[in-house]
Symmetry: C2
Subunit: 217 residues, 2 copies
DNA sequence: ATATTTTTAGACAGACTTGTCCAAATCGTC
DNA sequence: GACGATTTGGACAAGTCTGTCTAAAAATAT
């Protein structure tokens, strides 16, 4: 049994393990030091791997950055998609459920490690390597906004919200949700669960004051 | 006449001119390349000055970064203060005047060169040199928020707004005003006058839907 | 016109990086 | 135990960058 694939799998596993370890360390170091300041020796050391292995896996330093960005954007997109699926389409207590949803959004997409990495890499290398993030830029936020806008539009149809422009409302929702977290996000501070809850509560209350309607029958 | 001060003034002028030229070029290069990636030769060339002059004026590369950050934060603070003074304390048409105010805020503080530089430097070097921005962090946003909150509180007292927490409202106002500009700001794109106007209009409309009251007598 | 300060260009040592090469060691499979 | 692939540590050349030093040039004040 498992006549010819077992070796490949085993090899692939250790291979992949090291590959991921390198990507992980590279993400950390690139974010801390920036692309120019990142040191391949340091990345290798943090990955628990020899420098030659880094070169074996990814070739170039620039190539390594590309791989890191691809990895992170994929994970981020997956997280966003997954969280969007938990939107309260048929709410009972809209305020409460929107707060829960926004908390999830922040935890899974903005405040976690990947979110921090993407934000920082975007900021530090976005202008120098525009191609790197072109894909994310086009498919990432635009799709998120559109998906969220569609949900809000449906809530408006079922009488929960009073919206002029669902797209604008979606962007405003996201902006409000981050209003109290801006500083922490910029400085890389960790946000406590409680901070996140009150920030999100403030945001949803404001959003519903602007666009909410009394509970429909 | 001008017996003993004239020389000092003249020297100071050229001295200061070169000093500013260096700071300006350094700000550009630091923002483009990050601290580690910034090249003193390049800064000198962009400033139209010899490298030795850079060292004469600011000593260290790290020292130069400190000087740049100090310069920019001072200019930003001045701009914020100046713009806050134009807040519509006694509005006639609140929506219109808040929009005008928010447009000024964005143009003078967020979307101009200094705003872009501060944001980027903060993002790229904020974690590595926390002391650098400690002063700004403490006195910058906190003061802005407080000042804006005080204005909103006064509007609430005079019957224009219905606020629970003026501080939260102030942060939300700023967040809303930037909602549609996020992507452009991150990628360093220039925002057109028209983009800025519609973004700001959307923001103020939402803010007033949440917190506005019919015009008081 | 002269004296003083500032600026300039270039050379320089020391340190650090990247990317390559190679022989020895390690690992998992047959 | 033997085999093939992968990993390792170290050495290496080529390049870059910082910060210092020097003597000449330019600018400025008296």
């Amino acid at each position: 049994m498992t006549p010819a694939i077992a070796p490949d799998i085993a090899v692939a596993r250790s291979h992949t393990a090291k590959r991921l370890s390198v990507l992980d360390a590279a993400a950390r170091v690139f974010c801390r030091e920036g692309f120019t300041g990142a040191n391949i020796d340091l990345i290798a050391a943090e990955a628990g791997v020899s420098r030659q292995t880094v070169y074996n896996h990814h070739g170039d330093k620039e190539n390594l950055l590309v791989a890191v960005v691809r990895e992170i954007t994929e994970r981020i997109n997956a997280g966003v998609f997954e969280t969007l699926a938990t939107f309260p389409d048929k709410p009972v207590d809209l305020e409460l459920e929107l707060i829960e949803f926004a908390v999830r959004l922040n935890q899974n997409c903005m405040c976690n490690r990947d979110g921090k990495f993407l934000r920082k890499l975007l900021q530090t290398e976005g202008e120098r390597y525009p191609d790197l993030f072109a894909g994310w830029r086009e498919h990432g936020p635009a799709k998120t906004w559109a998906a969220l806008a569609a949900r809000f539009a449906r809530l408006a149809l079922s009488g929960w919200l009073d919206l002029d422009d669902p797209d604008v409302a979606a962007r405003q929702f996201l902006a409000l949700v981050n209003a109290d977290l801006q500083m922490a996000l910029i400085f890389g501070d960790t946000v406590s669960e409680e901070q996140l809850r009150t920030a999100t509560t403030n945001a949803v209350r404001c959003f519903l004051r602007a666009y909410g309607k009394p509970r429909p029958v």
